[in-house]
Symmetry: D2
Subunit: 380 residues, 4 copies
């Protein structure tokens, strides 16, 4: 490990929800036990004065600017976290790379497949360490499913189901925002918004979709614009992608669901893997519960209480409940550890290749829907 990588001085472009969550993570970075990398939030860029103001409370922040080029010029910044609308991804990510910085890119890693490929290629060319965001697999339940899948205890895999479900958009009076419009969210709509969360684990386990049948839905076509008027919504609200993955020479049905209109579901991220001998289930709906299937003399689903068993241990006791800020911190720890060559066989953030594959899938899904066919993934 180069000594330089033991320190990670972070700049943020985009001071919204996720930008501030990052500030929170770096504010308590010291809770990571024996962690090899020091990290600090140094600089923040946003166009809104009010958001910049918020960061004035963060003791370590030295540069606040509305000009992302100014941030990128700072010699103090090693790593840039970019959390901006999808239509700005490609330009911003390339600017970061061109400035010689390393990157944690917010999903979906470009507004479409072409953008994703451009970014990936630039990343490769730059030699910089680039990863894409996805927090939920870092929860203990996600990790236990991964471990079980890797152990081989499932026998022949019968089926895989992953998804991410939201419900707040069911309220027709919820005002529009940039994620509900194609020009800013992308033609892939909800797949761009939620899809990376869904594919991260299966892709990492080597389960890559060969082909896809996509059921895409636009349900609400307009919403209040938040200013007394009405604005159009032209993105996909729900997407169900019925795919097959090749696992040990067999095609296995793999369903990937991304929904903004899932009745009653608040941030439900789930993964379920079923095999002839074993299986596993985890959902953030019951974030403390792991289900493991065992086919013995009887077929049983074991319910196990989870605690705070994190990839990167912190000072929080093992019986306690992890929350979103905790898995966000873990994602950053994985980024920092991998960047420093210290990840080992632990689970890491989404790679550029995985991000491109996700866009290949989403592009195929658009084709499947448009042509009412089974689209081959990666042919586009």
């Amino acid at each position: 490990m180069s000594n330089a990588k033991q320190t990670m001085r972070v700049g943020i472009i985009g001071g919204g929800l996720m930008g501030r969550e990052a500030a929170s993570a770096f504010g308590r970075w010291f809770v990571l036990d024996n962690f090899p990398v020091q990290a600090e939030l140094i600089a923040v860029c946003d166009l809104q004065e009010k958001l910049l103001d918020w960061f004035r409370q963060v003791p370590t922040v030295r540069l606040l600017t509305k000009d992302h080029h100014e941030l990128l010029r700072s010699r103090e910044v090693d790593v840039v976290y970019v959390a901006v609308p999808h239509n700005l991804h490609e330009k911003m990510y390339l600017d970061v790379l061109n400035a010689g910085k390393e990157l944690l890119a917010e999903k979906p890693f470009g507004i479409d497949l072409q953008a994703a490929r451009n970014i990936r290629n630039a990343a490769v060319k730059s030699g910089r360490f680039v990863r894409c965001s996805s927090e939920f697999p870092f929860l203990p339940g996600g990790q236990r499913v991964i471990q079980a899948a890797q152990s081989g205890q499932f026998g022949r895999i019968l089926e895989i189901r992953c998804g991410f479900w939201h419900s707040s958009d069911l309220d027709p009076n919820k005002p529009v925002n940039w994620k509900r419009q194609t020009k800013t969210c992308g033609e892939i709509g909800v797949m761009g918004d939620l899809g990376m969360h869904v594919v991260h684990v299966p892709f990492r386990l080597g389960w890559k979709p060969l082909r896809v049948y996509a059921q895409l839905q636009k349900i609400y076509t307009q919403r209040p614009d938040g200013k007394g008027g009405i604005a159009p919504c032209d993105t996909w609200d729900n997407a169900m992608l019925h795919t097959e993955a090749l696992i040990n020479g067999e095609e296995v049905p793999m369903r990937l669901e991304m929904k903004r209109l899932a009745p009653g579901e608040t941030n439900t991220w789930f993964i379920e893997v079923l095999g002839t001998d074993g299986g596993a289930r985890f959902s953030t709906k019951e974030p403390k519960t792991l289900w493991l299937f065992e086919r013995g003399q009887e077929q049983v689903w074991q319910r196990i209480d989870l605690g705070y068993q994190m990839i990167f241990p912190t000072i929080t006791g093992g019986v306690f409940e992890p929350g979103f800020p905790d898995c966000f911190l873990q994602m950053w720890a994985a980024y920092g550890a991998e960047r420093a060559g210290q990840l080992g066989n632990r689970f890491g953030c989404v790679t550029p290749d995985e991000a491109v594959l996700s866009h290949e899938l989403f592009a195929a899904a658009l084709e499947s829907h448009a042509k009412k066919n089974i689209a081959v993934v990666g042919s586009g």
Copy 2:
């Protein structure tokens, strides 16, 4: 109502599991409250002496025979219930109709689409009352989902999921039987075995699949033959049919699942309907529980305890648990009531047209799988 229909004298062809369940139902037919039809089991045909012997205990049975023609010649028999392997359906059902009897046919109503159409056409021509079996929708939970769907309280329907899951075949040492071989079960495999249970409710609600993408799986290709040897298994074990139904002018994703290899699931029949304003869920996994979704100020799923609220009330108290024998009895009550013109707006058994539609769907599923396409239902 013709007076004649107030009596239903039943003959059974096939004295296996379902034949004896029918004997049980007629043995306590008097528990139906104020029911307009009297029913009695009169005659039984089976090729196995041992099974015929069993029926000697049933006081009302007067004719036991190995020759189904003898049973069909009996003047005392009004209605014939045929529960034999799928490859015998067409011939037996036509024999029943040709003998001028009325018919409750075990699913799948013929081994394939052509058989189903032949039977349907013969039924129409004969003018006899013909229905096909399906018990689980008669459970209180199934009925509540139907009522909720019909009330319009769901708003725009977002998605429909129905299925029937078994798991005993996960045991590789379970011996083969006729349902695991194409020659007796049919090329449609698990769809023939479990499919009618899955489509009964959606078809009755008018939700008919326009097209289908089928994920069909053969997992176990051989099993013990029960005699010390090994026998091939060549039927589909699992089928997931991804369809769209046209509801109020909108295409709605409807997933229909039939699985013999669903880890840990013992006879799990379920239906779930989700809409923008409401939804409903029922599964025999929790047979006493109804879930209703309501989108109010908050989005809530209501959990309601069910009791013995049957379409056709019996003497059993309303707080008690219904079981399979009870919904089997209700299915027969529905058959008898409809035959007598007394069904009213209550839920009835599967019609011949619905049975043919199910076969159109299964045929399209086979095509979809073979050609890796989206098959149009009813084009075959």
Copy 3:
């Protein structure tokens, strides 16, 4: 086995809900596989003409009378099932015994402890086979808990919880009935109505309460009388009995709950046993689900799907759902088998001694409540 016991000709005194359920059970008695006892319903006594009329549909019934002495004089009747209000138990049960008949007595086996002792003593003196009713332990889930408890796999037992919960009385507009008034239901109120269901399994497992702290509640003190007026309700609605049982030399907390006012609970009968090494849980709220605890490297609760695994197998397939009529039939099969000396090590109906012990517990509970003390069970 005396030959005579292979036949059980039954008379019913009390043609209400349970009387008719018995007719249903005997109507399909032949579904019991290879069962050693033949049974028939022969005679029925009730004061209401309308109820007697109902029994005219039951083919085997030969005697219908309003005079229970007439029924008891019938030479054709071997066994009498008495299902009448609690205040009539003692007299009726003694009449049955004095007539030389055998008895299945509806719980609570007399209106109070003295009545129970009188009946028990008369039963002993008569030498007749006498048992008391309790259906729910015959469900497969109840039986699995019993088996697990007897296996010793629980290690040291930590705690026991049993209960029976109803909720329909939460509706203040539900009219009064005889179970809501002390003169007919008894001073023990809800304990008399629901208590036998709760104690049957723990008593049979040898878990007998040493002492009790009782939390008894009267919530609704009046109700509509069903005739436009208001009637007083003076019975206990809810009872929680906190007891200790001596198990392997250790006192173990055992909670016994009987509630008519359990929000949202429809006929929830449950039992839970927790130990240092294992545990088990079953509830009719999820009648198809068994939970088993195992302390291995991790602590897991195993969820297992139950089917139709009955003590006395019937023709119904093993994957299907049992309901109340099925466990009622099993109770009668247990009665018949034990009477014929054929029970073996299977679970049997409540014995007179167990019924007396239940009344000792209920009497101690009344004392505990009245004196605000910990009452010793059996000291009364």
Copy 4:
């Protein structure tokens, strides 16, 4: 509000699990939205060099000492958080008060009732702001139960159940620690360890136990001492306190459970309130789920997904999952806000009077167990 209270400079005595959790909370204090109080961790005292070392990473810490008097002399420290074994509470808390500092005291607020009273009296006399710890009620689910209870929507309250369950001690090979020995944990054992968590909400809602029947259990009497030997365990492992609370003039059964030996339960904190018209349930076993009972035409339990709805909003999005570090932060925010006179009608930390009442309850529980009686709370 005095200006001085807008800043909270914190010193910690006891740098173990909770001390470091506090460092984590203050490290990201800025995530609290528009919060009126600034807070900083300034000083830490612990006897172990290794623990002090850990705090060197926390940028704001200026004083590290093994002598708590040195910390208490520091002019920079406003508030002291003491997290030490129970036998040291009284002395340490009094030292803090005598030094003129304000106090957040770890539960149980002294090793026994006398200690608690001494501390409470000293607190009153000092005029300093003193509160005791309890984190879980600050979870959104806990708050929703409180709101529902305060709204009056429950009608007449039927029953209250609160508890805190752990299971790691079921492993007989888990080494002993100071919480398993009376000399350091106190004679009240598990009640001292877990009891404050259980009583905080009911006490705040005004539900105070009149009397108690205690079922106390010692199951494991020795454990590995962690050094190759065996050490005695002489504390109560499990405690069930059956109490009555006076609510609107009616005595209501209230069960308070504290268990170290609850099979399969990892940090399960729960509260359930049942009434004739409504009810509510929350458990950290399903930390994202709120259950609300409504008695309408049907009796329904509503399941509601919770997000990050905190008393003191932070920058984390409302749909995300809160974890233990988040409710720990909320507890400190409540302490700081109340200290600054800014709590309003929000939920606050445990008061000294509530802490004393908890000890009165625990003392009565010991009496009840010893004398096998119903002990009056507060008579000791």
